[in-house]
Subunit: 209 residues, 2 copies
Amino acid sequence: MKKPNAISKATIDRLPLYFRTLRLLQDEGRDIISSDELGRRLGITPEQIRKDLASFGQFGKKGVGYYVNELKRNIGGILGLDNHWNIAIVGIGHLGVALANYQNFVTLGFNLVALFDQDPNVIGRTVNHVKVEDVRRLKAIVKERNIQIGIIAVPAAFAQGVADLLVDAGVKGIWNFAPIKMKVPETMHIVNEDLSIGLSTLSYHITRM
Amino acid sequence: MKKPNAISKATIDRLPLYFRTLRLLQDEGRDIISSDELGRRLGITPEQIRKDLASFGQFGKKGVGYYVNELKRNIGGILGLDNHWNIAIVGIGHLGVALANYQNFVTLGFNLVALFDQDPNVIGRTVNHVKVEDVRRLKAIVKERNIQIGIIAVPAAFAQGVADLLVDAGVKGIWNFAPIKMKVPETMHIVNEDLSIGLSTLSYHITRM
């Protein structure tokens, strides 16, 4: 396997798409897939797919295609999904509850181990078998339960405060749903989820129908 | 402006990211941005940015940079955001309510004009000033209110049924949050939102810390 430094951001961003499609193929009972068909399903050229996957090592067999299970396991390994990260959600409003119930996280191997809110009416409730804790206990619980990823699902006005708490508590990464640009140390990995991107892409396509 | 057919899918997928960043820059009161700085903020090379934007026309001024307002307006136009699409959400559980309250849709110019559910306990409620209607009235309301985009926020088991209803009602595009691959006519534009992609990308990065 080549050094990950050599991999472009665009390739890294496509890996979860490959992983998702391979998971669907597995559900459909498929054993083998060609780069042509994978390309059609993803709207990516087969050349790009072969190039992306080649940058991590030798997968697939010429003239046969990729073995679905093997490729999925390998990409899962590259994505670090076999680490089974412990995750926590901060902000148990509608979005937080929806995320807490999202089945795909379990399928991918993430463990939801804590929920936090500041509202006394929400603290103590249980969502998807996890009790909502007072956000003031965040730092202690992050240590106790070995939480590596914090998910920010609070309104924009509170998001930076929560990010500061998560940084101070020592998580490795933040997944942010608040539509603001956070200030975090350069060493902290943060992925900003902007739901308006999907809708904008759709707008582009239907404008040209 | 060149014909949109000439634009690669990868470029199209980056346009909403440019738009989002330009919107943030506008909020920060910035007038001008170089492709270098835009690249740093997005993790994309300046060469790629110049190439992407050049495929739509001549933006920016050599040695000066891009004019933020102008570029944002132009990209907004390319994305079709000035169409002010009417959108409807089907499935008013936690995710549906979170989406109905998502402020960024308004900022981008989308109009939320209808909400649908099948649960008698939910029908008749109001979320963000919009009344929840019986999903059996979907086709009639899509016509009455000129709805172009349907958002699917129901559990996976109901998603295909809702997609069929939306196709039959004549929407132009579907934004799907259910983690399944939908069967829709080839002429229908569908964007699948997979929340596990953001989390997988984060996993990749923290695995390598």
